[in-house]
């Protein structure tokens, strides 16, 4: 298990009011993403526990694009990864910030 942490400045604050959201599942080629609205406005942290070693540079690129393109400010994001491909990671992150915008179900 490899652990990675990123602290980023996010230009766009997360929408909505929901305190947290969770998307995905821990499975082969998939991942679970927990988003919690606990940080100041433009901060975003991403903590990753992954089964696949040696992909730090790709994670950094995926997470960097994510905070630039989506509304990720004020979120602490925790990821449990089962060796998902970067496209799946980007999709789950995008789904996470969409879900936290939604009114509580």
């Amino acid at each position: 298990m490899e652990k990675l942490n990123f602290k980023l400045k996010a230009p766009n604050a997360a929408g909505g009011t929901r305190a947290q959201a969770i998307v995905g599942v821990v499975a082969s080629g998939n991942l679970e993403v927990l988003l919690e609205r606990v940080l100041p406005g433009d901060d975003c942290t991403v903590d990753i526990a992954t089964a696949a070693h040696g992909f730090g540079a790709v994670w950094q690129a995926v997470v960097g694009d994510f905070v630039a393109r989506r509304a990720a400010g004020s979120l602490r994001i925790s990821i449990n990864d089962g060796g998902a491909r970067p496209d799946m990671v980007a999709l789950r992150l995008a789904q996470g910030v969409r879900l936290i915008e939604e009114p509580e179900a």
Binding site: V58, A61, V62, R69, R70, R85, P86, D87, A90, L91, A94, Q95, R98, L99, E102
Partner: protein, 317 residues
Amino acid sequence: MLAIKGIYAPYGIRRLNHGIGFNTAAIELLLPTYGEKLGLKGKVCTHFALNPHPTLIPTIEAGWVEQVHCFGSEVGMEDYVAARSDVFFTGPDGSLRSNRAFCQTAGLYACDMFIGSTLQIDLHGHSSAMTMNRIVGVGGAPNMGSDPRGRRHPREPWLKAGAEADPTSSAALRRGRKLVVQIGETFGEGNVPLFVEQLDAVELADKLGLELAPVMIYGDDVSHIVTEEGIANLLLCRDLDEREHAIRGVAGYTEIGRARDGKMVERLRERGVIRRPEDLGIDPLDADRRLLAARSIKDLMLASGGLYRPPSRFRDW
């Protein structure tokens, strides 16, 4: 969803040919759900040059399809085809009348678009399904995935694509363009990247002493490349550098994608050469299996009213 909202809808693609594979099967299964939501019924996908794919059943049953002309048949579809002789070409006994030669001609000169998958795409947009450890047949793709240059009856998508590729010529003298779309995920099975510096086909040709590399579709015939990162409209590229960056700009986190010039990609995006899911208003929460009109072979069988008889290897009941 990207293909439907970003290509089928704006061009109004009514006559088309789908390649074989999961991506185009997914499009077929999204038409009666996602396509319906976008109000596209009757406006796109009314005529297919296509084998009687079982994945077409929900779309046909939802009343989208006026006509399907087939290259050949599909096992288990005999009774369904006979029952839907209003859509398929059949003989007096209800059996399918497929015609490979006619269908190829329709694909070349009657279709607005070909869309299919591939295994490798290079920076010129050339694509090949041959890799060093996988030599396969490519069916009709080299023909269907080409833009034939003969004169044809004009249709809206053909004219629109022609205008995008050559905005300065006089409209009355301008040649249209058939849309040739390559669709795929940036990483395929076993994390193999879709985008490469050089096609394996080139090395293969070298090794086998072939005069021509086994390219499936030539880059200058390709109009669009669709990946999960977005759509690259190659018709709007004015030089090779733009073309290369339009391709890099949808190549995701492959090495090709990561070697992009971010500023150049942003400029292409501002011009609409690259369009991302968020530019098209596609909600990532919609990317869910629940949006597929059928999620199993059994669902397809049920959608056909029991007329589709899947071969036993596809049955789990």
